[in-house]
Symmetry: C2
Subunit: 304 residues, 2 copies
Amino acid sequence: MREEELLAMMTARSRDLPARFGQVLTGPGDDCAVVQIGEQRLLLTVDQVIEGRHFRRNTSLDLVARKAAARSISDIAAMAGSPVCMVATAALKPGMDQAEADALYMALKEWAEHWECPLVGGDTATLASANDPLMLTVTAIGRVHPVRGAVLRSGAREGDGIYVTGSLGGSFEQETGLGRHLTFEPRLKEAAWLASTLGDGLHAMMDLSDGLGRDADRMARASGVRMEMDASAIPKNPGVRDWKRAAGDGEDYELLFAAAGNVPARTESGVAIAKIGVVVRGEGCVIAEDGKLMDAGGLGWEHR
Amino acid sequence: MREEELLAMMTARSRDLPARFGQVLTGPGDDCAVVQIGEQRLLLTVDQVIEGRHFRRNTSLDLVARKAAARSISDIAAMAGSPVCMVATAALKPGMDQAEADALYMALKEWAEHWECPLVGGDTATLASANDPLMLTVTAIGRVHPVRGAVLRSGAREGDGIYVTGSLGGSFEQETGLGRHLTFEPRLKEAAWLASTLGDGLHAMMDLSDGLGRDADRMARASGVRMEMDASAIPKNPGVRDWKRAAGDGEDYELLFAAAGNVPARTESGVAIAKIGVVVRGEGCVIAEDGKLMDAGGLGWEHR
């Protein structure tokens, strides 16, 4: 079973939700759902981290909690939103003692507050077997950007430039200490600044979790356009020599966005913004290298 | 590690949240968190169901999805709220094929809509080993009751009567077909009706997930009062002969509430309401039988 097919199926089956339920503005398929409650437009997202898939058995509980929180916070950032609060679940190993459970809870609470998204509730259960994987889920609620509103991934238009923040690839490398997939900083303030600065010129945005290639392909398909990117323009992290790794490694949690008009080379907070391509008529996403076009959708990293 | 101690620790460590974050009205420790977003007061809750703990390996995917949704919906009911929408995660077995994953998704979507709480997003991952337990989480958002607001478990007062809806015990019995823990109907409309009918006289409410004894003890401690219940007044399900089983079995998902004034014997929807005790000065919760007092807190069923 491929995650991509499952996601596509779920998105297709839920396409009629906004027509059937007035509170649903955007259903499954984007980084967050967007719901209308009274005068408020809220963002809602959930992510899970599983031992052996998203972290190792020997990863510290602090980093496990950090990653669990940061993934959901990054989804709020991807819509240009601001966090309100979170709830979490933990499926704990039977061998964990009170002190370890306490440490995990305190770590999650502290990371939640670090991003001004206090942990207001949750549920714990203990797994049956010591071999069962430790698992956390974090659901985050956010508010949409007060002026621009929620920035969906489906708004890219012909003529837009394609941009990424920061640099890509090597998130799992341990060479320089901890992999960035455990220590990344969700681009909350950069996303809000982009929405404030570019306003309605910011057409589409998402965070890069499964690799630029796969994620850009998703943005192109959601928007009904074709995205053409230039391999040499993709910003690579130190130690990442090959653009295919920069576009395929996954778990960068940088912002990918499509915008019209002038886009600054750097955010107010000092993060570089690279123009990596253009939006044209058509479908899918390609990366050009020396005049050859590669299908971008096959490059990304699939969380199986 | 006992779940009770862990919950008590988390509640204690989060007691200062409302003072530190203006959006937090009620943090961990109740059936839902209560958060203020603009003019709206929202309820937020998450629950998980794990194979081998909350359902069996051979439980149908439809009933797994139903239970996952119903547990969170019941938490919204426990605060007298009404559902808005939900998000979910699924950690799937590696052997599941597309058709099974599809069936699980459709079941969850349909149960969500059954309770007017559309499934607006989520996350799936596939587990590493076929022995790892299938696991679902459901986060539900609700609105508070438009007149009475959120009904907390901490509001019971000296002089209140103690009441339960329906009848208790035997939720895991298979004799009459499926266990009620898989097929219970969350008391959404009954809770809203109680809040509308009793208004400010409805002082405290919660749903019974871990058994009347343990849950009433939690209500008493949260409220800073003592609850005295009469063993002979506890309504038992057919086949449940012993009041200790009715008070200890768990997973009833009936409403326990404390209220002043006259309380009808039946809800508008026809569910019986039984008066089972009174709130007095003191602490803890006891059940009286033939003049002997039993500590109620030790009776409940602990999800380990």
